[in-house]
């Protein structure tokens, strides 16, 4: 047919018109409408992000100062000034301790799933349950640690908060590490085995180093998410107004808990502190996220 002829040479009669002009008005309109709706959806996601970022920076920036990051929390909502020092100490200590517990355990769990369990029924159940555990509400994890640790020890501690956060991080670390281990080519394992290395040695000295950048970035994302968790902190760590550097003795506090506490009051001084704490928390969380992205984009490509 005339299909092969260039458009300019196409005879006036005969041959289907394949240009856009041949579309019926209704079909063209629907297509344009759908495209517009999709662009609008993207816009709808950008708006809240921009508004939140703007408000937190504008209101939090007004309070931000070196003394805000250092000073103790005033124990009256009304009092002006003061800072979030104890909460920053608490957030860093509690999140750090949680990471120290959850990341090694999670990585070993991932090694089981990818190197030993593979598609066996038990491994499949663990995989499914890890995904389900990711969806367990943080408040439930807080209640669990309250019952099984705080009631046992008899006092609120920062360590209880770390336990709760570790439980929340564990499944995330397991699943993201497993994905990374899966990307390690089998040839590496076979080469190591052929050289006579035992499986544990192969796993620890060949497979794990090959996947370490991906595992690190996945774990850092889990840490970032845990640092923003509020509900378990409120339930299990109690509250303090001056820094407590000991996770195992006495109550502690963290930035998210302070934001929650101060946000629900109607005192401007407290609300200002909440905005300042929010800015600090976002900077910490974003810091982790950016480092994670940097590691995964910088090192992952080199290895592949």
């Amino acid at each position: 047919m005339t299909l092969t002829a260039p458009p300019a040479a196409r005879p006036a009669a005969g041959g289907p018109d394949l240009t856009r002009a041949a579309l019926s008005g209704r079909r063209r309109f629907t297509n344009h409408l759908a495209t517009a709706v999709i662009w609008f959806a993207v816009l709808l996601a950008v708006i809240p992000l921009a508004l939140v970022t703007y408000t937190v920076i504008a209101k939090g920036g007004g309070v931000m100062s070196l003394s805000f990051l250092n000073e103790d929390i005033p124990n009256s909502y009304r009092r002006e000034g003061g800072g979030m020092g104890p909460a920053i100490v608490g957030t860093l200590l509690i999140t750090g301790m949680a990471a120290l517990m959850a990341i090694p355990l999670g990585v070993f769990g991932a090694i089981y799933l990818n190197e030993y369990g593979k598609q066996r029924p038990l491994a499949r159940i663990i995989r499914l349950m890890a995904d389900v555990m990711t969806g367990v509400p943080s408040i439930v994890m807080g209640l669990f640690i309250y019952i099984s640790w705080v009631l046992l020890v008899g006092e609120f501690t920062g360590f209880a908060g770390a336990l709760a956060l570790a439980c929340l991080m564990l499944p995330v670390v397991i699943r993201s590490s497993e994905e990374m281990l899966r990307l390690v080519p089998d040839e590496l394992r076979q080469a190591s085995m052929a050289l006579g290395a035992r499986k544990w040695k192969t796993t620890l000295t060949v497979v794990l180093p090959a996947a370490i950048s991906g595992i690190t970035s996945g774990s850092l994302l889990a840490v970032a998410r845990a640092a923003g968790e509020t509900a378990p902190i409120i339930i299990v760590t109690g509250i303090v107004f001056s820094p407590n550097w000991n996770l195992f003795d006495g109550s502690n506090t963290a930035l998210p808990a302070q934001i929650f506490r101060n946000a629900s009051t109607s005192f401007p001084a407290a609300q200002d502190r909440a905005w300042g704490a929010a800015l600090t928390l976002i900077v910490i969380v974003l810091g982790f996220t950016i480092i994670a992205r940097f590691i995964s984009s910088r090192f992952a490509i080199k290895e592949r």
Binding site: T30, T35, W39, G109, I126, L143, K199, I234
Partner: protein, 330 residues
Amino acid sequence: MTLTNNPPATKPTLTQRGSSALGDRVFSWWTLGTGLLVLAILGLILITTVREAWPAFDAMGLRFITERVWDPNPATGDAVFGALSFAYGTAVSSLIALLFAVPVSVGIALFLTELAPRRLRGPAVTVIDLLAAVPSVVFGLWGILVVAPALVPIYQWMHDLLGGIPLLGRLFGPVASGRNFMTAGLILAIMVTPIITSITREVFSTVPRADKDAALALGATRWEMIRGAVFPHSFGGVVGAVMLGLGRAMGETIAVALVIGGATNITANLFAPGNSMAAVIVQQFGESTGTFTAALIGLGVVLFAMTVLVNLLAQVVVRRAEARMKGSVA
């Protein structure tokens, strides 16, 4: 030691020292142990919370779920703990969230997979990642101090406009304050959008190139291609993604606690204050004792059971959809 376990055919020079064979076994047990930790924690959560909540379950029986009154300190008589009002709040706020979040998420996923010019794709993914990275308590803070007051005139206008319509108008009743079911649902919508988007996007990206090209070659517009090739192929996966979003919305605590208003209330009015199960726990846990604490933990048990069920179902749906799609790609 375990040298004797090696097959006799192996040449002596290739065998390994016994100690590392032991190392192998210890290592595999240790990794298995850490893997089993997940199952252990889930089991322990169920056992310990149910045991601790038992006084409340025992006192209330089935009424714990069917009773709408929640009165920990009544002037006379026994305390009453009924979770129905809070279950209603959880359901309503989550449904509002999905109503807004699902179309937006599907739209963004389509944008990322089908529509976006290459240089816009990266920034769009970053927006979603950042939206997921913002801690929920920050959304809560923004919600209670900025969004709720700002929405009051809009709610008032909607009430004046739609409140008079019979039946439907009951959804848009009188506005008491900006802290209500609707605000909670809107804030939740922002928070579940990233998770629904990321899974939906993965599902869309598994649609075979050939299917899409075939649709376009038959003369379909881009939208007709999406409707005819992308949607039917990924329906199951999208359903799973929506359910994961639902699980997240039901369990979200802090942001909802700040913006839902804190009233024990069952009403069709979306502009009325209410409360959700997760929010009640975090609001009242500090001042509770005895059976009251047990009842709050009981709310946790109900919440745990519901989210695990929804998540389990969602995972099964997603997995099944994934398996089917991988089959068709090959």
